[in-house]
């Protein structure tokens, strides 16, 4: 019961940032304010098949039981996906008296994990290959990317003379800290019935940033990012919002590792024939794992490579419902450069004095249907937003998504 209460408390819509019907955007300071400081943070996990239980156990390093795996196995499809991430941001908005242009300064931290995988990959990874005796595990067309980068942005926002349209644009320097990127094409693993050999067909590429530079402030790549958008009245009391967020690319330096494999091999055990060389003393060392791997992952290079950051494209319409001051919004979102499907969403906002309550539903992305709640509180220049798009999944013991957003702003 505690967990349910806790979930309700922190489950409010992330899309509080897109709620107004008076053509506002999050990079416009509050009316009559010259400065606005905002601290925000969010985390999320969403999957087409992996459950919250498994994700929690994995990320919190708890033991993952067979029961937990069984639930996931029951939800697996031929192709599955998941994403998880944590973002933290500090924003400073400045509106000079003499200008209608507002200046934007942002510092952000992004950690994003994204994957597309077959059911066999899950079973192999979490249960081992014994269940594949005399079977071929199909690991084709799988992706895994884990990216951690920092962002420092500067930009501007403003409103048209008519007041019907507002806009914003932010350019960012991206500092890549860590990347692990694995992509497979035709990759399969056959385990013989008696376990005497394993046939592997490996067509994959493995890219990783310089692992020797892993201290928190290390920069292993640089790039550029763009966030921009506008909102405008289109009639019928309706506002159209369009925006792109965090479009960009990072080039990781030439200290990075790139391993390619396009080979077939049969593994029959580590070769220890020398141990039976009865002419010598038996003092050989058993070959270690790397010696095995190196035999087929022989194309190892140090080279630079470029990856696209997970971007986001948003398009939505918003208008008053006519019921008191409530609003309704209907939108479309597509995450770019990752393995998410398009997302359609709908949100209902209902203000009561200094409070705004929101109800949010969506379908798509990395998971299926979810419903969420949001709460906003405004008082003397302070604004607090807490939301979650995944309350329904949290309440479901077999839910496959979770997340929360918290933002605190001060305008003065």
């Amino acid at each position: 019961m505690k967990s349910v209460l806790f979930s309700i408390l922190v489950s409010f819509s992330l899309l509080g940032r897109a709620q107004t019907s008076n053509v506002r955007n999050e990079f416009l300071p509050e009316q009559d304010a010259m400065y606005q400081l905002t601290f925000s943070g969010e985390y999320f996990f969403a999957s087409s098949s992996l459950t919250n239980k498994l994700a929690n156990d994995y990320f919190l390093h708890r033991f993952i039981s067979e029961e937990t795996k069984d639930v996931v196995s029951g939800k697996l499809n031929n192709q599955n996906r998941f994403a998880a991430g944590f973002n933290g941001a500090f924003e400073f908005l400045y509106r000079p008296d003499s200008s209608k242009v507002n200046y934007i300064f942002t510092l952000q931290h992004h950690f994003f994990t994204d994957s597309r995988f077959s059911n066999d990959l899950f079973e192999l990874y979490f249960r081992g290959n014994k269940g594949y005796a005399d079977k071929t595990a199909m690991l084709d067309d799988s992706r895994f990317r884990s990216l951690l980068y920092y962002q420092a942005g500067i930009g501007a926002s403003g409103t048209s003379k008519s007041g019907k349209t507002n806009w914003y644009a932010i350019g960012s320097l991206l500092l890549g800290h860590e990347i692990l990127d694995i992509q497979t094409d035709k990759t399969r693993l056959y385990t013989s019935p008696d376990g005497e050999f394993i046939d592997a067909e490996l067509n994959l590429i493995f890219r990783q940033s310089d692992s020797s530079a892993s201290n928190p402030g290390a920069v292993n790549g640089t790039g550029f990012g763009l966030t921009a958008g506008f909102a405008t009245h289109i009639g019928w009391k309706t506002a159209l919002h369009f925006g792109v967020r965090n479009l960009g690319a990072i080039k990781f330096f030439d200290r990075s590792s790139v391993v390619r494999s396009d080979t077939s091999l049969r593994f029959e055990g580590i070769e220890v024939s020398d141990l039976f060389n009865f002419g010598d003393s038996v003092n050989s060392t058993v070959i270690n794992d790397s010696a095995i791997v190196q035999t087929f992952l022989s194309d190892r290079r140090k080279e630079a490579f470029t990856i696209y950051t997970p971007g986001q494209l948003d398009l939505w319409l918003e208008r008053p419902t006519g019921f008191k001051n409530s609003t309704v919004a209907l939108g479309f979102r597509q995450l770019l450069s990752v393995n998410a499907r398009p997302t359609g969403w709908c949100q209902f906002g209902y203000p009561i004095g200094s409070h705004v309550f929101r109800f949010h539903t969506q379908y798509g992305g990395y998971t299926g249907f979810t419903a969420g709640l949001g709460y906003e509180f405004n008082h003397y220049g302070w604004k607090l937003i807490i939301s979650s798009d995944y309350v329904s999944a949290w309440l479901n013991s077999r839910g496959r998504s979770q997340g929360a957003f918290v933002s605190l702003s001060k305008s003065f």
Binding site: K2, F6, H61, N129, G195, G269
Partner: protein
Amino acid sequence: MLTISSCKKEADNPQWDIEVLGPVLQATIGINQLLADSLTSTDANGNVRVVYEGTLDNIASDSVYSIPDTAIQTIYTWPFFPVTINPNTPFYTNNKNLVLNVKGAQLTRAVIRSGIIRLTAKNTLPTRVYFTYTVPEARINGQSLSLARSVAAGSLSSPSYFTEDVDLSGYLLNLTGSTNNLVNTIAYNVIARSDSAGPAFPVVQGDTMVNLTANLIDVTPSYVRGYLGQTIINENGNTAVGIGNIFQSGQLSLDSANLQLTVENSIGADLQAYIESLTSVNSRTNISIPLIAPTVLQRNIDLSRASETGNAAAPVRPSTQVINLDNSNSNLTAFLSNLPDQIATDVRLSLNPLGNISGSNDFVYENRLIKTKTRLEIPLRLSMNALTLLDTQELSINNLTNLDPVGPGTFTLVAENGFPIDLRLQLFLLDENQQLTDSLLASEDIPSGITDVNNNVVGATKTRIAIPVDAERKSRILSAKSMIIRASFSTVNQPQRLYLKENYLLRIKLVADGTYSIR
């Protein structure tokens, strides 16, 4: 607080168990692995013969000659009426011979590889005394050994001393004495003179005028010449044979063997060998088989003297004697089939059996004495009947890799036997007190490959032996300090002897089927 505590990580890494099935280790064992220390050759039919080659240095140089440490003391007392010795006055000169106590040989010449001469002088006279110590026939680069030294003035109650070591390395010693017709004799000369800057001093009868000692210490020649004497060297005793020590029981029957002994005499003196007996001793079975070889044993084998080449790089031209033993002239196969762990020898070597027939021109170069080259060739046509090999290997499994994640399971030993040999394998684990803690393989049979009517293997036989490993057994394996390997070999169709061929292989694979904990 609830949020923070619920997000706390419980371990360093995610944790779950997987079930693995797959090969872990593999080995392919052929004749070449089994006989890695030996040369093998193969005939046109693929039959293997093993060749062992080795070299033995049969005797040490000190069994022919040696120069013991020797002290040469020169004491001269004033024999006459009292006189006064003036400054810069020679008062003693003498030529002497020193006979070295060389054992067995009558040497006329030696080149010294190492050693020193230590001069010690004692002076009780009231003036500095100058000594000149000369060995005229000790030469290096054409120069004689001559040492001019002095010892300070002293008295009876407070004598003065002088000591110095002189390196003799590289000196050529003529050992024929001052008359050039002696042996083992060094001629030397001592002169004593008073200090030219010292006082005149009186001496009376009995006063010690010279007290000088020269010690030859650790003198080792690299070459000697002369007559080496009629030394008899007896080589009696037992020599351990390595391979015999690891066979515990069983019978081996070889078809044939050939032993070639090439004896090289690099001594400039005639030798005569007499092999009284050679015996194959198997101390486990208490069976001893004497070598029967009438053409070799219990008869004199003459080894003529070597000659000098005059070439400093290879100064000796040895004489050689080749002895062959095989089925036609010996019971060598029975001798070897006994699987000796020791060879008992009774051999006598006589130096110069005919006396000094070289006119004292025998010679020996250090480290060039008698060498026996052994070449043993055994065609691998044999039969083995429960021939059991026992060996103990030290283990340090914990050092290999982290085995903590390995959970309960079954390891399966898969053996594909392509030899015409039935194997029986046992593995025992021992703790640090050499106490048995587990038996990984109790007594598992690995049948031979499939053979045709000619006893040639036409197909391998596959055997799977399961080794369950639970937590307790894993602990015993990890804590084991050593492992006993006991392997028994029996060829098929006993007692026929059959060929072992180059293409015969034993493939071993260890397959794991169990739980592995991801941590």
